[in-house]
């Protein structure tokens, strides 16, 4: 566990040398001019007694008002588009070294380890591009809707952003998870933290037009048109087949809004498809065309990639749903606990088949389980935050979470998943994640079978 002197605000009585160098520096750089001057004048020999006196009175951050309490602050609109605090420079989207050779076809992972609640800040939303991203001029962006032949759709149409934003809109909170999330871990533990094990996951409120509205506006023939092809406007013009049943349900949205603002360019500005519960690759970004058809399309990303290799040598094709999954985001791999005692164990659960019904947490590697608190409202195909109390006794522990969705499906153990799908699949790894806590408070990624 961490040295207590590294925890701000703790007062630890000790006769001498109890302040770390770092803390002395903190005192020195604060507003305690008299103390700093005393340091300079008295030299190293005098440091201990002076610092000791200061600490015995209490926390210098309380005893001495800081600059922000004793001076004038910044005016409004200093940042017309606000940015996070300058102290928030650690939780960033990051790449996993060696995962991809070119940045235009890579992934950046969302820092789940330090996020709260269920909404992902748009600037930290994970990225996956197939041929780089562009910042598209919305006045030049068009959405075309057509049929693979005339009998499937009466009237092919073109919509501008002006058109789409005039139409009745819907706003819904949904998770998006890349089919390859946790894919690095199919065979064995490979990455250290939850950012890299589960960070191809984000959740936003999306606003847009249900695709059904557009298809009906174009005179779709639902009897014959049972598949939808969605296509992007980027260089890859990425395409995926979407089932018409999902479109008819009203769930699939042609979205322009994300968390109250327009989509970010990296997330498809100005238009992307939202296909709730289905892997991220189907949420086509920079959406430029929708085609309705009477058979699936076997596009590159459903015939070469995003197919699941089974031990038999067969690949599962058109696997799309992200099955129920959960992960403890804190405490988690790559973290060190501060001390023995109380912790709020927190994490995320989600299911592509609907709402989360229950999340259980184990502290002993899956022998015994306790049901966690779910933070409401629990929403369809959205991240659900869970919390559970824990008192760490300083001994070794293995933390796990296990999600159950409203269909009764329970997130599988590694052994169960591998028994069916082997170890080479890459995609759709929703196994129970384990974090091992050592006696020194360090937490590491392990797999429990």
């Amino acid at each position: 566990m961490l040295d207590i002197t590294k925890q701000p605000g703790h007062l630890k009585p000790a006769p001498e040398n109890f302040l770390s160098e770092n803390q002395i520096e903190q005192v020195g750089s604060g507003r305690r001019d008299f103390l700093r001057n005393a340091f300079v004048a008295a030299g190293a020999a005098m440091v201990t007694p002076l610092a000791a006196r200061a600490a015995s009175e209490g926390d210098p951050n309380i005893l001495q008002n800081p600059a922000w309490t004793t001076s004038l602050g910044m005016p409004v609109a200093t940042n017309p588009y606000g940015v996070p605090s300058k102290y928030e420079n650690q939780l960033l989207r990051r790449e996993s070294p060696g995962l991809a050779r070119v940045g235009g076809a890579s992934v950046s992972f969302c820092p789940l380890q330090g996020l709260f609640g269920i909404i992902t800040p748009s600037g930290l939303h994970f990225e996956r591009h197939h041929q780089g991203w562009h910042d598209i001029d919305p006045s030049k962006h068009r959405l075309m809707v057509n049929g693979s032949d005339d009998s499937l759709l009466k009237k092919p149409k073109v919509y501008t952003l002006d058109d789409l934003m005039r139409l009745p809109s819907a706003s819904r909170i949904h998770f998006i998870e890349c089919g390859a999330n946790t894919g690095l871990e199919w065979g064995n533990v490979a990455v250290p933290t939850v950012q890299y094990t589960h960070g191809m996951l984000s959740c936003s409120e999306f606003t847009g037009v249900p695709l059904k509205v557009l298809l009906e506006d174009c005179g779709v023939n639902y009897k014959k048109a049972r598949y939808v092809l969605a296509e992007g406007a980027d260089g890859s013009s990425m395409t995926r087949t979407i089932p018409m049943e999902m479109v008819e349900s009203g769930e699939v949205i042609v979205a322009y809004g994300q968390n109250g603002e327009m989509l970010r360019p990296e997330n498809g500005y100005p238009l992307r498809l939202v296909v709730p519960g289905v892997q991220g690759v189907s949420w086509v970004k920079w959406l430029r065309r929708i085609e309705v058809g009477d058979q699936p399309y076997a596009t590159k990303d459903e015939a070469v990639h995003y197919i699941d290799l089974l031990p038999s040598g067969l690949h599962r094709q058109y696997s799309s749903i992200q099955e129920a999954k959960s992960v403890i985001t804190s405490p988690s791999g790559g973290q060190t606990l501060l001390d023995k005692g109380f912790y709020n164990v927190t994490g995320l659960a989600w299911s592509g088949r609907g709402k989360i019904k229950q999340v259980d947490v184990s502290f002993d590697g899956g022998i015994n389980w306790q049901t966690a608190r779910l933070e409401g409202p629990i929403q369809n195909k959205a991240l659900t935050r869970f919390n559970i109390n824990w008192v760490w006794d300083g001994g070794p522990a293995i933390l796990q979470s296990r999600a159950m969705d409203e269909t009764g499906y329970v997130q599988p153990k590694y052994g169960q998943l591998r028994a069916v799908r082997g170890t080479k699949s890459i995609y759709h790894n929703n196994a129970i994640q384990s974090w091992k806590v050592s006696g020194n408070g360090e937490i590491s990624n392990v797999q429990v079978l």
Binding site: L91, L92, P97, R101, V102, Q113, G114, M144, V145, N146, S148, P156, K157, V158, Y159, N188, V189, P192, V213, Y227, E231, G235, S237, T239, P243, E245, G293, Y297, A298, K300, A303, V304, D308, L309, P311, H315, R316, Q317, Y318, S319, S320, S330, G334, Q335, Y343, Q358, D360, D364, N368, W369, M404, V410, Q411, P412, Y414, V420, I443, N445, V446, V448
Partner: protein, 347 residues
Amino acid sequence: MFKFSKTLFVLALASSTSAFAVDHFQGIGRQATPAEVKAWDIDVRPDFKGLPKGSGSVDRGQDVFEEKCASCHGSFGESNEVFTPLAGGTSPDDIKTGRVRGLSSGELPQRTTFTKVATISTVFDYIQRAMPWTSPKSLAPDDVFAILAYLLNLQEIVPGDFVLSDKNIADVQKLLPNRNGMTTDHGMWAGASAAKGGIGNGGKPDTNNKACMKNCKSEVQIGSTLPEYARTAHGELQDQYRSFGPVRGTKTLGAEAAKKAADAGTLDLATKSGCMACHGLKSKIVGPGFNEVQLRYKDQTDAEDRLVAKVKSGGQGSWGSMPMPPNGHLKDEDLKTLVKWILTGAK
């Protein structure tokens, strides 16, 4: 008032029923022209709907491939440098069975495009829409047919004198090594099941875990732990967490290890930037070794700026007659990193 509203409502309803049926959202969107649909509707389906007319020979494909594709994929589609390999991994026997044996036998070191793909339309469609990497959609249909013919020949699916066209592509489909390698018998399609004219088993999952709560097993079997190299492969984890809150990031890199990691990164940058083709770390190759450069500049206060300028513009004479080419393609920050690294003893 009530009466009035009611009348208005009835009137509105009466006048709108016909309008709604014909044009629900008046003034929104417009009909696409045939030329517009033709320009964007470029997808090619497994039944070859959407396939343009055209043809291309293996020979011509080899030329186009060498010019436009080989720098990333290797001359024979074998390269693993930038993307996973396109070609290799299948046998004449696979062409007969339509199942790539290496996928189940474990003999395959890495899956290539042709060990996986079951539909030739997929490859045509993708090359046409997305290749080459930096100038997608620049290939004419004949180029796409030619490139595909060359790839099929590399895979020994078609002979060297083959000409692929819209007329014979359906015959080639019947020879694809993994044409029978896909299954849709799973529960992860989000639409209707195969039994109802769709895909898959209607959503039936393939695992069946139970929410056991007490004494669920007698022992905890750990199948895998994080290898030591993987602990440090993602940089300093401490810096990837807040310095306040319930936990801290674990310190994974010491100062020395951090320098080592930075050195390794810079060496990688130097290699990628082409420096190491002419310079050794401690030896002359064509140009001077970086140790010699460091030595010569060690007492010069403006060494960094001068060297940055020299590397950028190139030069001749400082180290003999062999010229150093200009390196305008390097980003300024990379250039500075490299020069600093050389001046502080490149490792």
